[in-house]
Each structure stands twice: as structure tokens, then as C-alpha cells.
């Protein structure tokens, strides 16, 4: 059962100050070149800020079990959405859904030493069987 929790104003203010500090930090870090880590740091700080908003401003910290289940379902959905989509997209040999002139160079996921084992070109599809299977089919009946 949900409880009516009266959160002290001082706690709200502390969370607010933390959120502002984290905003300053995320802007400051964005100005420094960390390569791929820029995006990781930015998303980590955003997740931390979002958690503070959800836990304290939205009162999830004092929420009942059903509310927590709803939030876990949302998080699982987002994880599936991003995980499955990016897993597909990042492991494609070519992004054939893009126009050829906009197709970027792809990351090389081929494993060294296995190159000789995989055929360069897929074998052409077998020619459609002509009369022989038909007669066999007919004979079977």
C-alpha cells in the first residue's frame, strides 16, 4: 500500500543542488576530449541524475512494491530495446538499409585466422530442379 510520505523540504533542496552540480560536471566533461568515453560519461551522469529525480522527486524511494515492478518493467523494456537493436546494427557486415552513398565503413568483426575458413563469396543458389524432381514427385504418388 502506498504511504503518504511528507518529504522534508531540506532533502528536496539537497537533491536539487546535487542535480545542478551534476549538470555543471556533465557540461565540463563534455568540453574535454575523452574519445568514446565522452558518450559513456555523459550517459552515466544522465542516468545518475534521472535516478535521483525518480527516487526522491518522484518518491520511488518510498514507493510500494507494485510501483517498483512497473519501473523495473520499464527499465527491462529499454534495455531490450537498446540492447537488441544495437546488437543487431553493430554486428552487421553492411548497413544495406542505408543508401549506398551514405553507408559508412563498418567495423571489422572478422576473427583473424578464420578468414581462410569462410568463403569469400556466398555460393550461388542451387539452380531450381527441373523436370527430374517433378517426375519423382509424380512417381511417389
Amino acid at each position: 500500500m502506498s504511504q503518504h510520505v511528507v518529504v522534508p523540504v531540506a532533502l528536496y533542496q539537497r537533491i536539487f543542488v546535487t542535480l545542478i552540480v551534476l549538470t555543471v560536471v556533465t557540461v565540463a566533461v563534455a568540453l574535454v576530449d575523452l574519445g568514446e568515453w565522452n558518450a559513456v560519461v555523459a550517459l552515466s551522469i544522465a542516468s545518475l541524475k534521472a535516478s535521483l529525480v525518480a527516487l526522491y522527486f518522484m518518491g520511488l524511494r518510498w514507493g510500494d512494491r507494485m510501483t517498483r515492478v512497473a519501473v523495473l518493467v520499464a527499465l527491462a523494456g529499454v534495455a531490450l530495446l537498446f540492447g537488441a537493436s544495437l546488437n543487431d546494427d553493430l554486428t552487421r557486415e553492411s548497413k544495406t538499409y542505408l543508401p549506398a552513398e551514405l553507408r559508412p565503413e563498418m567495423l571489422d568483426f572478422s576473427v583473424q585466422g578464420l578468414d581462410g575458413l569462410t568463403p569469400e563469396v556466398a555460393p550461388p543458389p542451387a539452380p531450381p530442379p527441373a523436370a527430374a524432381p517433378d517426375t519423382a514427385h509424380g512417381a511417389a504418388h
Binding site: 549538470t23 557540461v27 563534455a30 574535454v32 565522452n38 555523459a42 541524475k49 518493467v73 546494427d89
Partner: protein, 234 residues
């Protein structure tokens, strides 16, 4: 209506009229045992609605993430079309509005109608300030020819990817702004209700539920700001 039930909810008025404005009691719908259970149901319903909103924004953000990992460099360049100062200012404004919204809920629980209205109006004003700044940002994009499809004039390297980035920018911030506009409409209703003395420590469900919505819209912006504005600053 069984007598025992009526007795357990002494303040319930069964017709929902506002004849007892300022009264601590509030109608408990007959499917609920008590006000506490009704509040729990409202809270869960609101969170499930927000769950659908997570999926709604999540789908667009996932598409955006895929194009970002596909076109990292052009997207980082295109990100610099946006104003870091205005984006950061709007972040601070929205975070502040979340604080004032939390104070509005607190006021509904503990204070009189005038205090409730004061915090609601502050939240509303900050939300409006956010939208005004957003409107200036959009205006400058029109002037600079950076609106996809409508006289898009940028022709530097990776123009197609820049246009794609800006399409996501307008889709994401536009949907977010739409949520802000709806939030302001909700706040106007709350101000009207608070003035009529509808909220008290015993009943403040609309303030609390609207607060959840307002904080959620803030939460979406917390992700939009770094993902759109901060990509290419290094």
C-alpha cells in the same frame, strides 16, 4: 450501500459535488476500501502510464542511438549547430521547476491554498520560460536554414547526416515540448483546484500525480540534453 462501509468512510461524499470546498474529506469511489487504497491505485496507474511514455521516447532514442553509432563524426559536428548555453540554461530551468513542483506537493500536504498556488505558479512560470527559450532556439534554426525539409541550406561535409541529426533534434525536442505544453495545461487546472481549496493533507492525489508527470518530463530532458547538445563539444 452497507452501513459498515459508509461508517468506515465518514467524509466520503457520494455525488462528487464541490459543496464542501476546503473540507478535508474527498469522495472515495465505491470500488475502493478507503482513501489510502484509492491513492495507491492512482499512483500505480500513473507509473504505468509513465512506463508507456518511457517506451514512446525510448523508441525514438533507440533509433537516434543507432544513427549516432553509424555516423559518429557527422553527428558530433551537427550537434554544434545547437546552442550549448541555451540548452544548459533550459536544463537548469527544468531542474528548478522539478524542485518547485516537489514543493507544491509538499505544500498540498502541509500548507494552505495560497502556499500551494504559489509553488504551482512558480512551476508553471519556469515551464513557460523553458518553452520561450525553446521557441528562440527553433527560431534561430529557421533563420540559419537548419530545419530539415524546409529550406535546409547547410551544405558542408556530411550535409545529409546533419539533416538527419536535426530531424531527430526537432522530433525529440518537439515531442518533449508538447509534453511541457500539456504539463502547463495540467498545472493551470491544479492552480484552479488549489484556489478552490480542493487539496489537503488528506487528499492531494491530483497534485502528486501531476508532479510525477512533471518530473518525468524533466527526466526525459535530462537525457536529451547530453545526447543532443553535448556530443561534439570536445
Amino acid at each position: 450501500m452497507p452501513d459498515s462501509h459508509a461508517a468506515s468512510v465518514p467524509h466520503a461524499h457520494h455525488h462528487g459535488h464541490d459543496s464542501h470546498a476546503g473540507h478535508a474529506g474527498h469522495a472515495v469511489a465505491h470500488q475502493f476500501d478507503d482513501a489510502e487504497q484509492q491513492f495507491g491505485a492512482a499512483t500505480l496507474g500513473m507509473w504505468i502510464f509513465l512506463l508507456t511514455e518511457v517506451m514512446f521516447f525510448g523508441a525514438i532514442l533507440a533509433a537516434y542511438a543507432i544513427y549516432f553509432v553509424t555516423y559518429v563524426d557527422p553527428f558530433e559536428d551537427a550537434s554544434n549547430h545547437l546552442s550549448l548555453a541555451l540548452g544548459a540554461l533550459n536544463t537548469v530551468i527544468l531542474l528548478t521547476s522539478s524542485l518547485t513542483m516537489a514543493r507544491a506537493v509538499h505544500a498540498a500536504q502541509t500548507a494552505d491554498a495560497r502556499t500551494q498556488v504559489r509553488w504551482l505558479v512558480r512551476t508553471l512560470a519556469l515551464g513557460a520560460a523553458f518553452l520561450v527559450i525553446k521557441a528562440f532556439e527553433y527560431g534561430s534554426k529557421f533563420e540559419e536554414g537548419l530545419v530539415p525539409g524546409i529550406g535546409f541550406r547547410y551544405d558542408g561535409p556530411g550535409a545529409a547526416q546533419h539533416e538527419l541529426f536535426l530531424s531527430f533534434y526537432f522530433a525529440l525536442t518537439g515531442l518533449h515540448a508538447l509534453h511541457m505544453i500539456i504539463g502547463i495545461g495540467v498545472l493551470l487546472v491544479l492552480v484552479w483546484m488549489a484556489r478552490r481549496g480542493r487539496f489537503s493533507a488528506a487528499y492531494f492525489t491530483p497534485v502528486e500525480m501531476s508532479g510525477l508527470y512533471w518530473h518525468f518530463v524533466d527526466l526525459v530532458w535530462i537525457f536529451l540534453f547530453p545526447m543532443l547538445y553535448l556530443l561534439g563539444r570536445h
